[in-house]
Symmetry: C5
């Protein structure tokens, strides 16, 4: 869970609500049909653009973007170094049991292949294909959020045009013109809010989150290859540490010193 995303989303909503309350009548900004056309329209357009199975994964994608807690790469490297130490001391078959204690499925499957004596090139190829699948899934998820962020303002404008036409073709009572335009503008407001408070920031976040996960998987692949090759645990550590920014690296050394 990344606190910044949740705080950003909630504070954004509070800020806008506050601005509306200062403007006066809160109910003037609430309009169910306007919500329907913006949210519904964006959902329909996005649904039309994606296979059903992928579209239905949107809530999961949103949840993951908001709540996923990425593993600490330094902890992951420590774990890989420990596995390398065991493999060096007791032979790679000793990792057969360890595989039950490690939680990361991707790492487990890699170690299992190493224990089974699979050819190193095959291990690497299988793990990299898996990684490519992961990247593709992330891009598909980002595509969903991007689509929502693109179609929400578009349907906001469509709703405003529908409202304007309704107002303009029925201007007998001039006192209703203001209310009519206000209602028409609401959909544009909803579209802009949905895009800029929810979907565009989440799409950006998902792209960053994907980069982090790709880094972790890359470290795992390099680690498994080193473990199978029987590399010196010390070398495994310094090799994997080059993937980590220096600020994190020093923390790690402090920890060990402590």
């Amino acid at each position: 869970m990344d606190i910044a995303t949740i705080v950003g989303l909630i504070f954004g909503a509070i800020l806008v609500t506050g601005a509306i309350l200062m403007g006066g009548d809160f109910m003037a900004y609430m309009n169910a049909p306007s919500v329907m056309i913006v949210v519904g329209g964006a959902l329909c357009a996005t649904m039309a653009a994606y296979p059903l199975a992928r579209f239905l994964k949107m809530p999961k994608v949103v949840m993951k973007t908001v709540f996923a807690k990425p593993q600490n790469p330094v902890e992951l490297i420590q774990q890989l170094v420990e596995l390398a130490e065991i493999a060096r001391r007791d032979g790679i078959l000793a990792l057969e049991n360890m595989a039950d204690q490690v939680k990361d499925e991707f790492l487990v499957s890699g170690i299992q292949m190493a224990v089974d004596g699979t050819d190193p090139e095959v291990i690497q190829s299988v793990m990299e294909t898996e990684l490519e699948n992961l990247i593709e899934r992330h891009e598909a998820g980002k595509g969903l959020l991007d689509s929502m962020g693109r179609f929400a303002p578009a349907f906001g404008m469509i709703g405003t045009l529908i409202g304007l036409v309704a107002m303009l073709s029925n201007m007998d009572d001039p006192s209703k013109i203001g209310a009519g335009m206000a209602a028409a503008l609401l959909t544009t407001l909803y579209g802009a809010l949905l895009a800029n408070i929810v979907f565009l920031p989440l799409a950006d976040k998902l792209a960053l989150r994907s980069n982090e996960e790709v880094l972790l998987k890359t470290i795992v692949i390099q680690g498994v290859m080193s473990i199978q090759a029987g590399d010196n645990p010390r070398n495994v550590q310094s090799k994997l540490m080059t993937f980590v920014p220096p600020s994190l690296r020093t923390t790690e050394e402090d920890n060990r010193a402590a």
Copy 2:
């Protein structure tokens, strides 16, 4: 046929119709000349931008995007594995008859070349050229939908400008100003609807559909190459399975277990 696309298109249309009906007079939103200028203008601009033969394929492209049912890659791999088993057991010439039972033309032509004893490099080159042609045709199709999605709002704006000039140069009767502006805005509304409900989602969908088909053809090419090389059917399967996301892979294993 992908249900999501059809549901998305239909629900989008229903939603907009509902929003219009709530706004009041449905007929105020119906205007044949406005439809003409938006749809006609976008069609003319797209026609001018493409050779006639390609432009006339647009209905086929739309139909395909909406109704095409992509083959299940796991089923395709199973079929290739079966062909590999036959080839291994009875010799590659035994596939001569099988070629009549397989429906996928691309696979049939590949097997036929293998049966005819064509040089592997030639088979690969011919099949890859075919695949490149397919990708180009898909891009051309996507180009048509993109053009429509780009020109429809442009002609919506052009129609609105024409309507505004007409209204503004004839403001003797102030009571008609509202109706004139409403009519002028209709073309902008039509352009936005056409682009955001129909053409942009379909263009996105076509791009995804193309990726799927390219994956299938790539599997077929790899499969035919393996069959001709006389690879072990088990190896063929595990090799081809790396192209499929893990979620689909487990399904397949469950199926076999069942």
Copy 3:
């Protein structure tokens, strides 16, 4: 000549004229100074962005985009196969006379080099440099049309701003406000029409046309190299045919069968 481009351009113009006529007074839409500022402004900006010699080629570029008739690639391949047959039967020197009958200058210069016994690598390098020059010329032409399509709406907006300022600084007679705004909007309308009916579709078309010509030149280069190498005409044909989409290929085979 590609009928679709001309039909698209003409029908687009008819459609817009019809929409204007329905709006009422045709003369309200005709305004020489507005045409001047949009067309003239876009021409000036494009002229400033290009060397004079290139700018002056714009009419030629437009004509070519509209009227150029691309050669049929299958006919071109047939011609190359015939030349390959002659070269094989009577020696490459027999092509000395053929060179007078072939119309394609690019092909003639290639054959001439082959007849002169020029080194194959030199022939390929010279022909490919020529092809790169062609691609660059096409891109320069497309750049001109893109610039016009980009600057026309910009000067439409500039004209509208000039008109609005004129109208707003002189509002003594309220009855003239409508006419003033109508006149101001005309330049925006002109800019949008020029861009969306003429320049953007033609720029797209030119890009497609360029791809076709590059394909033809590529076929010629491959053909000349095969002829000089003395390849079997049958192999030349099947080699060159891989550049052509399957739909065209079957047509060709039907023709031969007929």
Copy 4:
């Protein structure tokens, strides 16, 4: 510290303040809630799009963009040449003490590795990984500024829509319409000012600054590699000078001549 950035920021602010003062009442342009929604909204959206740790680095990024003083590459090269001379004359171990006098941490760590007799390939790999980390940190910083420059105008528009709806749904007193619209437009103005005076120029500046720093680090890496290889100091100089534009190079020669 780069005087141009500070002068540009300050003069931009003065210019806009002057323009407002000329328009009349300065207080009409001051509105705390409008500032809140634009600045707060942009901050919330940016916060939602980034991990907390990275978001909190924004003030540091801004400060660095404005005040960082890039090292003169010619001075850096002189320093590297001096180190190369010492290493050549007294052996590389003589640099052990020098490392205390050099301020650039990146250079110190490189020399230290060379003194420790680390393998050249390892030194290069470690230093290049460090450089890649630097580039990534710069890009993350630029991403923050870009996000602010993108979300500030978006929340400006959102604020204006909220204000317009408030004004339109309460038009009983026509004399307040003007003031209402003025207040509504303020947020759009704030968004445009923030983006165009502060965030977009700073993002551009940061990209340039990053290029400069990458150049310096590249020179350091090349220099350390040359020092370790025991290259002739004269060759080290001419090799490193190719990274510097000729205008700077002549200055350097003048300096030496003087």
Copy 5:
């Protein structure tokens, strides 16, 4: 000097002035504070985005884009061929004196290195680094013009918003509303004119000009390498001519024939 750029800039200005004069009162379009905010704002934002030294080069960049006269590549090739003839006949040392007669500094420095017996690889590396520096300087220059073309309309909008707020918060005298809006729109007009008549066309032109200069430098590098290698002058000519479009090539042959 390229006549098209100057003619385009001047005619564009005349056209706009004419359109304004037709609209009536020329003075209504002249407003010093509006010029200040658009030009000053764009300059401040661009200054903030660039180091001072680079920003101050803008007038030089503009002058060069407008007045630079690119060398004729065919003349350059003739000169290189002549130098190759001298080098072949009298030895490369004979070029020592020639170096005084050649004006192109880049060519002179290349020949000087050849005369000094510098290693060919070093000559090539030094000259290519120089070329890369040139390309970077051109891109920096184009970046300045792009920034001005991007920030001018942005500050036009900012000025209009400031004017609108001033007008709207002070609507006591309805007769002044028109004049106030006219004044507010002026800055948008200025921003659009500056961008579309001056900065965007010049930025496009600079990109083309840079391509031409890069071509010339590439020819010089190839020529110097050939001269040093002692290539046959005839081969040098045909080798360098492949860099020139065929239309220019024939001109050259005509010239020689004449």
